[in-house]
């Protein structure tokens, strides 16, 4: 149970992919102008993170490691993630056109997103969580990996929504011309990241 809580806390707050690890800055700044598109992007990233982990984790531990080609993981993972996203896009377009309309346009954008690659890379080495819990190669399994990936995506969506909400509010205000637009978005991002640093102090069971 402690591991369960630690994984959720770590993935959503203490090691948030955007604000702490600074992965996925491209969609964070590019698709956060409107809350609706930020949610679409967040859901797409969550889905791809989960599916990518479910595929790459067994491929690494049961195929690449025994064959001695585990040093090729980055190239292999990019291969796998890009092809998964390609297939996913086609499948969603066929099965659910309405879902495709809200989410489909973001899928091609995340074929080589570093947040997705980052989450799949995370489970290849020891993973330390809040409360001095460490998932090493003996305790790590597909279930924990999938849980971490799912909540990493939820943490990603959370930050995207916070950022888009703040940027929408910024439209109410007239900013000086020199910093209006992208510069003020960078400043906003900076404050969100600083706020998330507070969660680093979270401990479990102390």
């Amino acid at each position: 149970m402690a591991t369960f809580i630690a994984i959720i806390l770590s993935a959503v707050l203490t090691d948030n992919f955007i604000t702490v690890k600074t992965y996925g800055i491209c969609p964070f700044l590019g698709v956060s102008k409107k809350t609706s598109s930020a949610v679409g992007m967040g859901v797409a990233v969550t889905l791809v993170m989960l599916i990518a982990t479910l595929v790459t984790f067994p491929v690494y531990w049961y195929v690449m490691k025994p064959l001695g080609i585990d040093f090729l993981e980055i190239i292999f993972f990019i291969f796998i993630i890009a092809s998964i996203v390609q297939m996913l896009e086609k499948i969603i377009q066929k099965i659910s056109p309405s879902l495709y309309n809200t989410m489909g346009i973001y899928l091609p954008l995340i074929t080589t997103n570093c947040a997705v690659l980052g989450v799949t890379e995370l489970f290849l080495n020891d993973l330390s969580l809040p409360g001095d819990i460490v998932l090493d190669s003996a305790t790590m399994n597909l279930g924990w990996a999938a849980l971490y990936a799912l909540f990493a995506g939820i943490g990603f969506t959370l930050v995207m929504v916070i950022m888009s909400g703040m940027r929408e509010k910024l439209n109410y205000y007239k900013t000086p011309k020199a910093i209006s637009g992208f510069p003020i978005a960078m400043v906003t991002a900076c404050f969100i990241c600083m706020a998330f640093m507070v969660f680093k102090s979270i401990t479990i069971g102390g």
Binding site: P66, L67, G68, I69, L72, I75, F76, F79, I80, S83, Q86, M87, K90, I91, Q93, K94, I95, N171, Y172, Y173, K174
Partner: protein
């Protein structure tokens, strides 16, 4: 088993790695091909043809998300070409031909601000010193005007107008009907929803949006509609009906006799200077880059 044990020399190692990648790439390629075949979606070629003929302003005036959404709606028959106010009549005829429908003669429309509540006419509820945008002002108790349906005059509509047809004077916005292309950007930008479309040839319009009762209107604004329905009774053609304490015009019946203008005790039915029905230059599809920039 370790694949790399087979080749002790570097050259052979690289060869093995390259072989692995070629194999995996082939496998994934075949997989994507199969998925693509199984989950094939037929794209209606009508949509691409319609999209070529639309103005491409992506203004959202039709209520769809951009021109491609509108094209899809037209293709499946749920959309109406008349909802696009930017595409030129010739291009619309082309689209009608693609769809195989008759294009009805429709009239050019213009947007009007249905409010005359300038600073002299409509007082302030409180002093507003916040950011000078209507959206921010309206989020604070619905704005600082005494009338809750009044124009806030901060010019959000002016900011979004692609043609520069809107000016704000003395706390109320007005739209130049000769420049307006009726794209609808201002209609969606106005937080008070007091901008509306009327036919360009309409002889009169009601310059008030207040749905309040007469007594409340009188206490708030010097030029607000009190809902007395004098115009509706006086109209000899039955073109005016009362709805939510406001007169609603049926412009197909209105002949421009101006009886309502003279009868209105608040003088808020405004006679428009309808000039020759010469339409302004509609947007050609080539110009849209300039407009969206």
């Amino acid at each position: 088993m370790n694949l790399l044990e087979f080749g002790p020399q570097t050259g052979i190692t690289i060869g093995i790695v390259a072989g692995i990648f070629a194999g995996v790439a082939l496998l994934i390629g075949i997989l994507i091909l199969i998925v693509g075949k199984v989950f094939k979606v037929d794209v209606d070629e009508k949509i691409t043809k319609i999209l070529e003929n639309l103005a491409g302003a992506n203004c959202g005036g039709c209520g769809c998300s951009g021109c491609s959404g509108f094209a899809a709606k037209l293709a499946d028959g749920s959309g109406n070409i008349a909802d696009c106010h930017v595409t030129s009549p010739e291009k619309k005829a082309e689209i009608a031909k693609i769809l195989g429908v008759e294009l009805k003669d429709e009239e050019r429309t213009v947007a009007v601000v249905k409010c005359l509540g300038s600073h002299e006419n409509c007082g302030d509820k409180f002093d507003y010193n916040g950011n000078q945008t209507c959206a921010a002002c309206a989020s604070l108790l619905g704005g600082n005007k005494l009338c809750s349906f009044g124009c806030l005059g901060c010019g959000d509509c002016k900011g979004v107008c692609p043609d520069g047809a809107i000016k704000t004077e003395n706390g109320v916005a007005s739209i130049d009907p000769d420049i307006c292309l009726s794209c609808g950007s201002c209609i969606s930008a106005c937080p008070k929803h007091i901008i509306d479309r009327i036919p360009a040839s309409a002889p009169v319009y009601v310059a008030c949006s207040s749905k309040c009762k007469g007594k409340d209107v009188i206490s708030a604004c010097k030029v607000g509609c009190i809902g007395c329905s004098m115009c509706a009774k006086a109209c000899p053609h039955g073109a005016i009906t009362m709805q939510d304490n406001l007169p609603v015009f049926d412009y197909t019946k209105c002949t421009g006799c101006l009886t309502c203008v003279s009868k209105c005790p608040r003088k808020i039915i405004i006679k428009r200077d309808v000039v020759a029905p010469e339409s302004p230059k509609p947007l050609e599809s080539g110009e849209n880059t300039e407009r969206s920039a």
